[in-house]
């Protein structure tokens, strides 16, 4: 029933019951496509709809370990209908982006965070382990091969989707001991083409994204499935995305917005501001953008950098703590709720203008209206977005976050 277990120790072999090959960049083969696709105009890009010319692929077999990785023309996979990826959703992924810096070199943003999270996701669903440094090295090589697919325009990037799927071809309800690891690339434009526009969220009390003891803090394909039907209903009611809640004795806690982490900016009596985001209690995805925003805001308050448009003397106190819809109501009543925004790799920062909430025993949705700002974004939303994008695109160097692919 239980597969043998291995551990990646970075010496080229997985340690386990029998030593088998780990993911090894020195074995990489590159086969270039003979029919390169036309690269679409940046203005015509729809998120995730266009794929680049090449992909990275490696497969895992419990007897022979990780295969020699390949960069080869983008193309379909051939899989048995009984495969674990179809039957038991043993599928995990990461969202990352490659940028072109002012020096023309492709850059990644804190890619080690994505590699660590992918390794954690693999462990959570009992997929085979892999050397995550090796995977990062291979991803850099793929980015160099498809470098011309990175749109060289501010706010544009090459979205990257490292994915691992279980390929065990049997209906037995057990972990997949076979896997396919692949990375595909999709050029993408800014989330808001015509400047930021606050999004609307419909808070759902009927559907729950994640719960204590669940898988919400890992990046599993199956975490996204439950949102599609409620998202469709929210769209029909005129909302852009869902606001996910989780009820406990404190009330309806805010957890995530669509597939993004969420922040609120709350004014304080002493003139400073609080920046609050739900804590990583196991129900929240530990987002790279979330972590980066906490870090640069703390750096601003510590005087290590200055967020654009925010006076160095303006202190922003970050808090990873729960807050509820009732807290938001109260802050709005007290005129303290200054901004709300959702964050993630795809959108970077999306300002929230409106939150619809319908209590269980109430048939009517009431809207919580956030303050509006000229240009669509509040000062903190704008500042953190600008700073993150400047670091991502290599215009501002910070803590080695922007990693060159050479």
């Amino acid at each position: 029933m239980s597969n043998p277990e291995w551990r990646s120790v970075g010496n080229g072999h997985l340690e386990g019951p029998i030593p088998i090959p780990d993911l090894d960049p020195s074995k990489l083969t590159i086969t270039l496509s003979e029919s390169l696709k036309p690269i679409p105009e940046p203005e015509s890009l729809i998120f995730g709809g266009t794929m680049s010319d090449h992909m990275l692929v490696a497969s895992f077999d419990p007897v022979t370990g990780w295969s020699a990785p390949e960069i080869k023309p983008y193309g379909p996979f051939t899989l048995d209908p009984a495969s674990s990826c179809f039957q038991y959703a043993t599928n995990i992924f990461e969202g990352m982006k490659a940028y072109v810096g002012p020096d023309g070199t492709p850059r990644l943003f804190r890619p080690d965070k994505n590699m660590t999270r992918l390794a954690r996701s693999a462990e959570r669903v009992a997929l085979p382990p892999f050397n995550s440094d090796a995977l990062l090295e291979l991803i850099k090589k793929l980015v160099v091969v498809d470098k011309k697919w990175i749109p060289n325009l501010e706010g544009h990037s090459l979205y990257m989707r490292p994915t691992i799927i279980g390929t065990r071809a049997s209906l037995g309800v057990t972990a997949s001991d076979h896997a396919l690891l692949y990375v595909i690339l999709s050029p993408t434009g800014p989330y808001f083409r015509t400047g930021p526009k606050p999004i609307s969220l419909l808070a759902t009390t009927q559907n729950v994204r994640a719960w204590p003891g669940g898988t919400g803090s890992h990046k599993l394909a199956g975490n996204y499935t439950s949102g599609f039907s409620p998202q469709r209903k929210a769209a029909k009611q005129g909302y852009d995305q869902l606001l996910w809640l989780l009820k406990d004795e404190s009330g309806w806690k805010v957890t995530e917005a669509g597939a993004m982490n969420v922040f609120v900016v709350v004014g304080r009596d002493d003139g400073d501001i609080d920046l609050v985001t739900p804590p990583l209690d196991g129900t929240i995805l530990p987002g790279v953008t979330r972590d980066s925003i906490l870090a640069i805001t703390n750096a601003h308050t510590a005087g290590k950098l200055t967020l654009p448009g925010i006076p160095p003397t303006k202190r922003i106190h970050t808090h990873e703590r729960p807050f509820t819809i009732a807290d938001m109501d109260r802050w709005l009543e007290q005129d303290k709720l200054q901004e709300m925004f959702a964050v993630g790799t795809a959108a970077v920062v999306a300002p929230v203008g409106r939150v619809g909430f319908q209590d269980e025993d109430d048939s009517k949705i009431r809207d919580l209206l956030l303050p509006s700002y000229e240009g669509g974004m509040g000062p903190v939303s704008w500042a953190v977005r600008k700073m993150i994008v400047d670091i991502q695109e290599g215009r501002f160097e910070w803590e080695g976050w922007s990693v060159r692919c050479e």
Copy 2:
């Protein structure tokens, strides 16, 4: 963002924004395999490991609707790496079985229940709807084509796996507007080859299968993923399966065992017995075997049938209500907990001999030991299993549950 929505009304077209073709058995094409596989000896069968010669396939496109269904040689699918089934686990399935009756005719067991549940699952994950009567008709035709794959031995059957996967080839986080529906068949032997042997369950307080507002009452591929890693840990500690719990103010409620529903038999002061199973509150899969056991037990108590080995005067009171680990402790102390068993299509009935439980603040697992019986099964477990199998295999006619494929 939101796909157009259709509704299957059984007239050959899906009703929606534009009428498009529904799943239509009259359009079926059959292509027989030119190289039939050897049929393994029944004794050598491992659950889900061997597939029959043919499969049923139909695909959905939002412009052209459901394709003409095909029965064709079992073989792999070719899918884009960006497909929704890999990225967002838009995958649902059913578990059913075909049996050979004494008259040599293949039979299905309450297949309408599986069709209804598959349609519910599709709706839950925003996959396209389909005419479920049409699908059943097509499944019957597939069973007739691969009839020789049904092992003609008591307790053996041809396990069937209707599956729908999302095939939208784009990374946008939204419902899949393309789909592939398929049915594959796998011959299977009895769960217990050498007679029933009570299984052991490790109750987990760290991992939670389903939550109010989650997807636990639907048959989604993603519902199974979270169990693989804890199942591996349970196996290492010497337990066969997990016992899933859900904590609320009443304590640690028992929900499911592995991928099965669960029952307990509790003695009453008046000499009757209570048969208790958790209620369908949204966290429990509405199992066909679960429903059938409740129905035949109620029929026994109402004098409409007699369960084998149970005196007609012995009243079994069925209850769909929560029970906790503390309830089990108390019943054991009072010598009232007579039997526990897990039920599902694959195993039919699996008696439970031992439940390991480790409270959150307790480092040691303590075992709750269920009474043991000669032959491995208590009288109620044995009786309901025997009755269900007799109905499935056509030896006992009951309420039209056994449906012939002709």
